[in-house]
């Protein structure tokens, strides 16, 4: 970088610099790299290998084979069905709750007095903050097909209707709402901050121009939300695609296979009957989808701009 006359001094300094550089790399990034290599990268590689074996419930591998993929492509009729369920589940949850409803919540809770707005945001964060087992349990109690279910109580006593059995008749609806309540809260928080970070003078200017509520939302709020909304859309699509915890706890993927989304399908195949190799092969699809989606996200979001140039070169 510098042209110096005293070469020896520079090289000594440079050597120390390189040494410190290495030490810093090991110190700052080392722990993360070790953990990720052991418990994240290694499992991915193991999964990749498992997909080509015949590991069953005894966890023994007797041979390497392409059978899992052959079965997946040619014979597995459930797989196609689960893809359909996944599409409906992801699109509906995302469209209705994680984006639209989240936006609605962000707009309304920022438009009411601060304390009340915070209260309602806290309420909507409740499902996210409470443990999944508790949340799922509450759902089971709410939709219990008996008269004692909370929903049925409301229907019977408030509306004079007959008890209904959502779990059997509209299972997909349940998992969409159950996941939506949780998904909406994340969007709500992010959108709320985005609204708050809009410079105040824009609102004043709009007011001076005599703009009403809707024009303000359209011309000032929405433009500021473009980025958060696209981020949420991609992020939530991905997390909806791969997570199945609430579905597993609430419907178990049933009745029959009605709420078995693809990720749960892979899990069920692996753990229902101990077909671990086939489960691993199915997981590979998810892994590929996940990687592609993340790369697309990188592109769309222009993440490179997040890498500001370091201004201190000393280590």
């Amino acid at each position: 970088m510098t042209t110096s006359t005293d070469a020896a001094e520079v090289s000594g300094f440079a050597r120390a610099q390189v040494r410190r550089q290495r030490a810093n790399f090991a110190l700052f990034l080392g722990p993360a790299l070790v953990l990720l290599a052991c418990f994240f990268i290694a499992p991915v590689i193991v999964d990749l290998v498992l997909a080509f074996t015949d590991m069953d419930r005894t966890l023994a591998v007797t041979r390497f084979t392409l059978e899992n993929f052959e079965r997946m492509i040619t014979r597995d009729s459930r797989l196609v069905a689960s893809l359909g369920v996944t599409a409906v589940f992801v699109l509906a949850t995302l469209g209705i709750f994680n984006v639209t409803f989240a936006l609605l919540l962000a707009l309304t809770t920022t438009a009411v007095p601060r304390g009340l707005g915070a209260f309602f945001r806290a309420v909507w964060l409740l499902p996210r903050m409470s443990p999944s087992v508790v949340y799922a349990l509450l759902w089971l109690w709410v939709i219990d097909p008996n008269e004692r279910g909370l929903l049925n109580q409301v229907l019977i006593h408030l509306f004079g209707m007959a008890p209904i059995d959502l779990r059997n008749n509209h299972p997909l609806l349940i998992i969409i709402i159950a996941n939506g309540f949780i998904g909406a809260s994340l969007g709500m928080i992010i959108f709320t901050s985005a609204i708050r970070s809009i410079p105040e003078h824009l609102f004043h200017a709009a007011r001076a121009d005599g703009a009403g509520v809707l024009p303000i939302v359209r011309h000032i709020v929405f433009p500021a939300m473009r980025w958060p909304i696209s981020y949420m859309t991609i992020h939530q699509t991905l997390s909806l695609l791969v997570s199945f915890e609430y579905i597993l706890l609430i419907t178990g993927g049933g009745p029959f296979y009605d709420t078995t989304v693809f990720s749960l399908y892979a899990y069920r195949r692996a753990f229902d009957n101990g077909q671990y190799a086939y489960g691993a092969a199915l997981s590979l699809i998810l892994i590929v989808v996940g990687v592609i989606a993340a790369l697309v996200m990188w592109r769309l979001m222009d993440m490179r701009r997040l890498l500001q140039v370091p201004r201190i070169e000393v280590h």
């Binding site: 005894t58 059997n168 029959f256």
Partner: protein
């Protein structure tokens, strides 16, 4: 750098906190794996008692060695689920020394090298095993050798609720005639559905026929009634008959249409089932094993045999077609010793002690399971309190066992999914048959032969 220290301390701390518990040099630890089961707490309990007996013997010779039985009583919902967990535990060397399993899993554990071949141990100790009822050994035999010791036995059946039958206008005479009509092939599975459906439609019962909520052995006697024999003894492979399955699923669909089976049955927890069958008294027919007598006596505060049979009638699974043969299933639970155990012999002797007439009789009488020793049948306690077992014994002549094939659990679980598909209104009889055949071919591959 104190934060480097902090990382190290955190990691070290978590590791140390998780390290195993201290063990004493003079203790020989025998790990037991048993599923928590209200219908048999003494399965593990008798092993603990056997350990105590052994320790008394050791104390009497001033030995400083003691046996310590370490229990792991799991919460799996059924023996199939439990067996899968146990296979996993064995695969990662977390297996126990002694384990309790449903007999049809013996093959799976023996085949995987986890269950010890007990043939030698049993033949060398006739004083300990000589009285065990001979046919029961068949249940733990895999490829000609015994890999377990039967722990109990039972009969699965339909329990008919007499109170509800009377409410439907059946006379006591008609009710009393039912078991006979079933055995003669006059009263079929279809008749049972009609009866149960009527009860629901008349509002006498909320559930016509209530069965277990998850996969399990029960359904084999029903498929068998429609001519599905799951096992080809000659070739030792599983088998399924397309037409038999179609007949079976047609019957299930018929029951669903008649409202004899509820769409919710497979979504219920075991407890909701018990609540419906006993606590709430909401079912006309309950389908399970004879040990349920214990729950029924308790739930309805029944006093003794006469009181009980005033409330309940037992029938075998009727034939699928008129004139056919009824059937039922006996599903023994067994003890097995781990082939990986460091104390195989000791573990085997503890099993032997736990299988003696006195401890086994305690399990049999307290939970209404049929005993495993010939001698037990003559014990005053059994004669006095085991009237249900005595009453069930004649039914054993229609009993079948499950085949001891390593993949029978998987086979059952597929058949069950077909039932679930129809009950929840997701599949027609034909679709269920196709689904089941398809799944069997996919999951079981060469282990199953599909016949027409």
């Amino acid at each position: 750098m104190n934060w480097k220290l902090a990382i190290a301390a955190t990691i070290a701390g978590t590791m140390i906190a998780a390290v195993a518990q201290p063990a004493f040099a003079e203790d020989v630890v025998i790990k037991v794996w048993s599923r928590a089961d209200r219908s048999g707490p003494l399965r593990a309990g008798n092993l603990v008692a056997a350990g105590d007996t052994l320790n008394k013997m050791l104390a009497s010779i001033n030995s400083d060695k003691r046996v310590k039985i370490e229990l792991n009583e799991t919460n799996a919902k059924g023996y199939d689920e439990d067996a899968l967990d146990l296979l996993k535990a064995f695969a990662v060397d977390k297996g126990p020394d002694i384990f309790v399993l449903a007999h049809e899993w013996t093959g799976a554990f023996a085949g995987a090298g986890y269950a010890l071949n007990l043939e030698d141990h049993i033949t060398k100790n006739p004083e300990l095993y000589g009285d065990i009822i001979t046919p029961l050994w068949q249940a733990v035999t895999y490829k000609g050798a015994r890999y377990g010791v039967p722990q109990d036995s039972e009969v699965r059946m339909y329990f008919l609720n007499n109170d509800k039958l009377r409410k439907m206008g059946k006379t006591d005479k008609e009710i009393a005639a039912l078991p006979g009509r079933v055995d003669s092939g006059d009263f079929t599975e279809y008749d049972l559905c009609d009866l149960a459906g009527q009860a629901v439609q008349k509002g006498v019962a909320k559930y016509g026929i209530l069965h277990r909520p998850n996969a399990g052995p029960d359904f084999q006697m029903l498929t068998e009634a429609f001519g599905v024999d799951p096992y080809d003894k000659a070739t030792a492979t599983l088998q399924a008959s397309k037409s038999g399955l179609r007949d079976f699923y047609t019957w299930i669909k018929y029951c669903v249409d008649k409202k004899a089976l509820s769409a919710n049955n497979t979504a219920m927890s075991w407890d909701a089932i018990e609540q419906a069958a006993f606590g709430g008294d909401e079912a006309l027919v309950f389908f399970h094993g004879v040990w349920r007598v214990t729950d029924q006596m308790k739930a309805f505060n029944l006093k003794g045999k006469d009181d009980y049979f005033h409330k309940y009638t037992w029938i075998n699974a009727p034939a699928g077609k008129k004139g056919g043969k009824p059937t039922n299933l006996s599903h023994p639970i067994a003890y097995a010793v781990s082939a990986k155990s460091k104390n195989k012999d000791l573990a085997a002797f503890i099993v032997a002690l736990a299988s003696q007439p006195i401890p086994n009789e305690r399990h049999a009488v307290s939970t209404n399971h049929t005993p495993i020793n010939y001698g037990e049948q003559a014990m005053p306690e059994v004669i006095d309190k085991g009237w249900a077992l005595v009453a069930a014994t004649p039914m054993l002549k229609y009993a079948t066992f499950m085949p001891n094939h390593p993949k029978i659990g998987q086979y059952n679980s597929i058949v069950f999914k077909g039932i679930q598909g129809i009950e929840t209104g997701r599949l027609t009889a034909q679709a269920a048959t196709d689904f089941v055949i398809d799944e069997m071919q996919n999951e079981l591959g060469k282990d199953v032969v599909i016949r027409n």
